[in-house]
């Protein structure tokens, strides 16, 4: 018991964590195992294309991404603060310690005054309360002015830091963060979605965040950034990591049962490491079986906004059972086959189906061939 009290109050050295040794990233909390894009499967000849977990052809082993390293921010910070991994973090620490110094000075001063007065003027035989005036305006004015000045200074420093915190540089690298009940997902510009945030070192990164259901809050203690994530609204933060490593990220706004498990890791890659990781992610993306890739793109690329898969007509025709049918289009009757779908993706206004408007945007240059094949297979399988 005494040892506990001493460690944090008196000795003042950072309390070493009880569980020594590397803290495995996916160890004790039920951190979801590092999920590569596709589940692992037994190698076998390609079966029916519509079967999502059809055995993979032998020659193409499933590409898995390198696992995330252990956390490097445990016990690395000062006594009060976790490790400061961005220059803004330095400002925050500086102001924090300044206010801490002022507070300790005031608190110790008041404590000494109270204890001393309580002892010196304690009630005892023959002790009368000596004469003293009931008010002293000069004293009152001084101890109003001085705290006001200190407060104004602290406010200004705090505000300056806050402005820096909220004005990202123009060339920041952008990642979309989607928070939903008890899971973070990070969408990178190349379409790859990951459970952990991968950022390059030394480059400003900007997060555009939104929530799918309730309020969450993106908090990385090492970068001293925190911002609530609100449904139906984009909220934005930015930071620039200074040292490579793996840092813990938390959800700070209460969001339900597994609020305390809704955390992920921020992996700061050394120079060049981030680019390599993104390329591997790109490959992993294309490595799924075509029908799963098609389904993934149907959601990720927003086809679900205009095309439904359950028969209801939305802005565009439904894909359910459409493959093989012939329909009237602006350029005569057309059988819906591979090249009609490929053409409609790349040049939507060529053959517009009757009764629908030519409002589909073109995806030329945005979808690779494997992705278009994936979509075609997916549409083919929608019976």
């Amino acid at each position: 018991m005494l040892q506990y009290l001493l460690t944090f109050v008196v000795l003042g050295q950072p309390a070493t964590p009880p569980a020594a040794g590397a803290d495995k990233p996916a160890a004790e909390q039920s951190q979801p195992a590092e999920k590569a894009a596709a589940g692992d499967k037994k190698p076998e000849a390609a079966g029916n294309p519509c079967d999502k977990n059809a055995p993979r052809p032998a020659n193409k082993p499933k590409k898995t991404l390198p696992p995330v390293g252990p956390r490097t921010d445990i016990g690395a910070g000062t006594y009060w603060m976790p490790v400061a991994n961005s220059d803004m973090a330095e400002h925050v620490d500086g102001l924090f310690l300044a206010i801490l110094a002022i507070s300790i000075f005031c608190f110790v001063g008041i404590t000494i005054a109270v204890v001393y007065f309580a002892w010196k003027y304690r009630h005892r035989e023959g002790h009368q309360a000596p004469e003293s005036d009931a008010h002293n305006d000069a004293l009152e004015i001084t101890w109003t002015i001085i705290p006001s000045i200190v407060c104004v200074i602290i406010f200004l420093l705090g505000w300056k830091g806050f402005v820096d915190l909220n004005t990202p540089p123009k060339h920041a690298y952008e990642i979309t963060v989607v928070a939903e009940k008890w899971k973070w997902s990070y969408k990178y510009p190349n379409g790859w979605v990951d459970e952990n945030l991968h950022v390059p070192v030394g480059e400003p990164v900007r997060l555009v965040m939104r929530s799918k259901d309730v309020l969450h809050s993106f908090w990385v203690p090492s970068f001293r950034v925190k911002q609530d994530v609100i449904p139906n609204r984009y909220t934005k933060i930015w930071f620039e990591a200074k040292t490579p490593g793996v840092y813990r990220q938390y959800c700070a706004e209460y969001c339900g049962d597994r609020h305390s498990f809704m955390k992920s890791l921020v992996v700061v890659h050394p120079p060049g490491g981030f680019k390599r990781y993104m390329e591997e992610a790109e490959q992993a993306l294309l490595d799924m079986p075509p029908v799963e890739l098609g389904e993934y793109l149907y959601a990720a690329r927003g086809c679900n906004q205009c095309h439904s898969t359950d028969g209801t007509t939305k802005t565009g025709p439904s894909w359910k059972g459409i493959f093989g049918e012939t329909h009237q289009t602006s350029a005569g009757a057309v059988k819906v086959d591979e090249n009609y779908i490929r053409e409609s993706i790349l040049d939507p206004t060529a053959k517009v189906r009757a009764g629908f408007n030519p409002v589909m945007p073109t995806f030329k240059g945005q979808l690779k061939d494997e992705q278009i094949d994936g979509l075609i297979t997916y549409i083919k399988c929608l019976k």
Binding site: P18, P82, V114, Y121, H135, Y250
Partner: protein, 564 residues
């Protein structure tokens, strides 16, 4: 309350029975219009709610002793901390000082027979009971798990019993409004002759500014919770983002009330402490006007600063800047009060009785609470510290460390007057010191833990915080046991306590001229209170036989203290 209360005065038997014994029976207590009985009923309700809330706190702390699940799973843990928060805020600490002790002391300190509207006072107590019943209903059915802040859209989509909890808080809001309204009219219209605004004890200044806050801020809580109820049941879409609503708007509505609410909690505490410190320093208060003006100033400024709860919750940069600047203006009156209290201790004649020990620990804990508020007021530091354990420690220092310790101090201060019995001084003093130690053991580590990255309302935490949680849990149990012992000491005094004199502590305010416990209309017909200059202790002397303080002016010729 079967205490045969007598007051020690010349004629032996008291001319009138005390308010406790004038009409016996449960029925008489339920329909009483007497502010003292209503105060005692509030006190019983509030102390039981406090012990219930404390049990939830200890359950939360036991759960957090090790990472991972110990005694409850995550859903139950969320229900536990929500109930701990809701019960402590709405049931204990907002009505605590104003309704329980304020109801008892206000009319006597004014020398008035009762508050302005006795039936409205009883109606407020019934509202409090209905609110408490609704909260218990939510507890029994499927306790709400939204946190005491009920943030949407979680509170409108979760499956737990949020409606009874919100309805309970809605009803408790009106109990608070009518109490505040009652007190403002009483202070305006029932001041005795010779007691102008600046001859009033500082306790009344605190109660007056609290009452202003209760009347002008609580209705916004009422409408906010009403909107939340209608949103949750009727899906009207005012806070629902899918229907065009705005969850941040709910936070504006909620915090517009809830920041004045934290001043409803602290202002009566400061008020009582001013009286306590001057009584036990046996010396006039230092800077009466500055303390009075800072009370009213705090009440006014508390309406301007609610945005500092929302720096990172989607509030715009401009609004955050404005609120941060205004938040620092609120720090100044609090600092003035603390400096004036310490100045009162200078050249005093201090007796360290139990209430004074609570008062001194109040000064120290409130100083820490106030100073840590400065950390959270600075914008970029708050971005890191918001929703972390630093905030948990800050508001526990201000709410529990200041408001609740002041409640205990005031309870010990007025206990002889309320029940005519003296509690055991030694036990009281030891409990006061142990509560101070236990409190600091519980919440000092949380400051460090919070700054290091421990988020708030977490059921499970990363292993590097284990040591801090363990120390905090030990402190929590120490404090819990000490509080139970101190309440036990008070209750024990009801049956075995020494008879209380009229003025056990040597106070100069009017309540110490009333017999303890006072009769139904506070003063005997032939003994109307005499208004002496405020906080003037020169005329008081301690009389061994009486066991309390007497005034030389009242001394009979045969007493040795008699001076022509």
């Amino acid at each position: 309350m079967a205490t045969a209360a007598t007051t020690i005065d010349s004629s032996g038997a008291p001319p009138e029975p005390s308010y406790l014994t004038v009409k016996r029976g449960f029925r008489n207590w339920i329909v009483t219009l007497d502010h003292k009985r209503i105060g005692v009923m509030y006190l019983i309700g509030i102390t039981t709610s406090f012990l219930l809330g404390g049990v939830f706190a200890l359950l939360v702390r036991t759960e957090l002793f090790f990472p991972g699940s110990q005694i409850v799973n995550e859903a139950q843990y969320n229900q536990l901390f929500t109930l701990h928060g809701a019960i402590m805020v709405f049931l204990v600490i907002i009505p605590g000082l104003p309704a329980a002790l304020g109801n008892f002391s206000l009319p006597i300190v004014l020398g008035a027979p009762d508050v302005a509207f006795p039936r409205l006072n009883l109606f407020s107590f019934y509202l409090w009971c209905t609110g408490a019943a609704l909260m218990l209903l939510s507890l029994i059915v499927n306790a709400a798990d939204t946190g005491w802040t009920f943030y949407t859209p979680y509170s409108t989509t979760t499956g737990t019993a949020v409606v009874p909890a919100v309805a309970g808080a809605f009803v408790l809001g009106f109990s608070s409004i009518f109490t505040g309204l009652n007190f403002i009219v009483t202070i305006h219209k029932f001041k005795p002759k010779g007691m102008g605004w600046f001859q009033m004890p500082l306790n009344l200044w605190g109660i007056y500014s609290t009452a202003l806050l209760q009347v002008l801020a609580t209705p916004v809580l009422g409408i906010t919770l009403l909107l939340l109820l209608v949103e949750r049941i009727g899906r009207i879409g005012i806070f629902d983002p899918a229907l065009g609503g705005d969850p941040v708007l709910f936070q504006h509505f909620f915090w517009f009330y809830s920041h004045p609410a934290v001043y409803i909690m602290i202002l009566p505490a400061m008020a009582v402490m001013s009286d306590l410190i001057t009584t036990f320093s046996h010396k006039h208060i230092f800077g009466y006007r500055f303390i009075a003006y800072s009370s009213v100033g705090l009440a006014a400024l508390s309406f301007l600063v609610w945005g500092h709860h929302m720096f990172v919750s989607g509030q715009s940069k401009l609004a955050s800047m404005v609120f941060s600047a205004l938040t620092f203006t609120v720090a100044i009156p609090s600092a003035i009060k603390v400096f004036n209290w310490v100045a009162t201790l200078y050249k005093a004649d201090i007796t360290l009785k139990t209430p004074m020990l609570y008062a001194l620990s109040f000064i120290l804990l409130f100083t820490i609470g106030g100073l840590t508020g400065i950390f959270l007021g600075a914008l970029n530091v708050d971005v890191h510290l918001h929703d972390s354990y630093f905030v948990v420690a800050h508001f526990h220092y201000v709410m529990m460390g200041s408001a609740l310790i002041a409640f205990l101090g005031a309870l010990h201060y007025w206990w002889p007057k309320m029940f005519g019995r003296m509690f055991n001084e030694r036990v009281g003093q030891v409990c006061a010191v142990l509560v101070f130690i236990g409190f600091n053991t519980t919440f000092l580590p949380q400051f460090v833990m919070g700054a290091r990255g421990m988020a708030r309302r977490y059921f499970d935490y990363d292993p590097e915080f284990t040591r801090f949680h363990q120390v905090s849990t030990i402190g929590a149990f120490l404090m819990g046991i000490t509080l139970v012992v101190s309440f036990g000491n008070l209750i024990y005094s009801l049956f075995r306590g020494r008879r209380a004199p009229r003025n056990p502590w040597g106070g100069t305010t009017l309540e110490w001229q009333a017999p303890s416990p006072p009769p139904l209309y506070n003063f005997y017909a032939h003994e109307q209170p005499v208004l002496y200059p405020i906080y003037d202790y020169s005329d008081l002397y301690y009389d061994e036989k009486e066991g309390g303080w007497l005034r030389r002016a009242d001394a009979k010729p045969e007493d040795e203290a008699y001076e022509p």
